[in-house]
């Protein structure tokens, strides 16, 4: 993010506001890393990068989205370091969440009622089994970001966010329906 420069008098206020997003960043980091120590390291690294790059933050723009974008880029960097030969231009595992339409899987009232009774651990498990980029899109939407803001964080077109989110949510509904069915047995 460029274009603006933050005045010395604004820095403290921006940093204080940024510290207020620690819970939201940690929640996302935990869902992406799966382990508390990794999530803590990721959030700390996010703040280190943000403070070092604070002069590139444009006052008046969305600070929370800027921080989330830094966190997401750090996750990508880590993935590239782990497997440098892979291409990260495409969505990881996108083929597994490719269908927006799931007409054949429509649930009846009884199955929906079972879905409504799912507990937090089952929802967490279903979310964790989504490919990382799909999970990230669902979580950013859940965090309250608009499509345009999510597109800014993921550095893609808003239309891509719209279709990716629809596919990810359809996949999540299928997974949760599976959990609800398994719970019946």
């Amino acid at each position: 993010m460029g274009g603006g420069s933050i005045a010395e008098t604004q820095r403290s206020g921006v940093i204080r506001e940024a510290l207020g997003y620690a819970d939201a960043l940690y929640n996302l980091a935990h869902r992406l890393c799966g382990r508390a120590p990794d999530a803590e390291d990721l959030v700390q690294e996010t703040y280190s990068h943000a403070l070092a790059a604070l002069d590139r933050f444009t006052p008046g723009t969305n600070l929370k989205a800027w921080l989330f974008r830094i966190l997401r880029n750090l996750v990508l960097d880590q993935a590239r370091r782990r497997a440098p030969e892979r291409s990260y231009d495409t969505v990881e595992g996108e083929e597994s969440v490719n269908a927006v339409s799931d007409g054949a899987c429509l649930r009846n009232d009884l199955e929906l009622e079972r879905m409504r009774r799912l507990v937090g651990a089952e929802i967490e498990a279903a979310l964790a089994s989504l490919p990382e980029e799909a999970r990230l899109t669902v979580l950013l939407d859940l965090e309250g970001f608009s499509e345009a803001e999510v597109a800014g964080i993921l550095e893609c077109a808003p239309g891509t966010v719209k279709s990716r989110l629809a596919r990810a949510r359809a996949a999540l509904r299928r997974l949760l329906a599976d959990y609800a069915r398994e719970g019946r047995r």
């Binding site: 206020g13 940093i15 204080r16 510290l19 929370k64 879905m115 967490e124």
Partner: protein
């Protein structure tokens, strides 16, 4: 619109974020297509599960301390005030007087410190939520000046029913609402405009939350008030629901409006 088009737009349709043409296209398709109407119901179940059942991980205290150390000292948020001197004076003779009184003194000192901590934490959280509204490019999820439109919008989106109070006949104008978080729980963010000032009322489940209890009387409701970073916060609690009114208007004016709003939250 085809089923494929509708399902791509369905989530934004449900959130009221489509332009009028697309909204009408989805709406008329849903009337005619049973499968897509069923998917809409399933989307509602998914929203409910994600918003009310998915646990939210809060940053551990150790991480918060490390983050504070990263920030320059002048940018660190206020720390809880030390216990008042009067308690220290009370504790000192208690040490000499005996173990019982010392224990009582310690209890009062600890209680006072806890109150100061609770007030600081709640104030900080309320101001952070207010700042999110101020910096958001699109703070509203429901934009309306009528409480009868804003209140029903929260139905099914929260696991409690927030009251959306109004101050009719005053300069405080209801503008809409959105979902947010207060600490680890989902909250109603109710937005008002007072002349050129943004005023935010947060309503949140207060169970297991250390809320300050103060002598401030807001009609029949006991509340508290505080300030930090140039913002004023007036809070109160009605049963299991906590409310915090935040703005940069003066403390007396905000308290006067809180006294108009708080009684309405108590009679529902």
């Amino acid at each position: 619109m085809t089923c494929e088009d509708v399902r791509i737009h369905l989530h934004q349709f449900r959130r009221g974020r489509l332009d009028p043409t697309a909204r009408e296209g989805v709406r008329s398709h849903l009337v005619e297509c049973g499968d897509c109407a069923q998917v809409q119901v399933e989307e509602g179940v998914l929203d409910q599960l994600l918003e009310t059942r998915l646990p939210r991980h809060a940053a551990p205290d150790a991480l918060r301390r490390r983050l504070l150390l990263l920030a320059p000292s002048e940018a660190r948020p206020e720390v809880p005030a030390p216990p008042p001197r009067s308690w220290r004076r009370l504790v000192a003779p208690a040490r000499a007087a005996g173990l019982l009184l010392a224990s009582a003194g310690f209890y009062f000192q600890a209680t006072s410190a806890r109150r100061a901590t609770a007030l600081t934490e709640v104030t900080s959280e309320a101001i952070n939520d207010h700042l999110r509204v101020l910096t958001s490019q699109r703070p509203f999820e429901i934009e309306s000046t009528g409480t009868h439109e804003v209140k029903p919008w929260f139905e099914g989106r929260l696991d409690f029913a927030p009251v959306v109070p109004e101050a009719e006949g005053t300069e405080l104008q209801l503008r809409g609402g959105a979902l947010g978080y207060f600490h680890d729980r989902k909250a109603a963010v109710i937005l008002y405009r007072l002349r050129r000032h943004q005023v935010t009322l947060l309503a949140f489940p207060a169970q297991e939350l250390a809320l300050p209890s103060g002598p401030l009387l807001l009609g029949p409701v006991h509340g508290w008030r505080s300030s930090a970073r140039g913002f004023q916060v007036v809070g109160w609690r009605v049963g299991d629901v906590g409310y915090a009114l935040v703005s940069d208007v003066g403390s007396q004016e905000l308290t006067a409006y809180a006294a108009r709003l708080a009684p309405q939250t108590a009679i529902h």
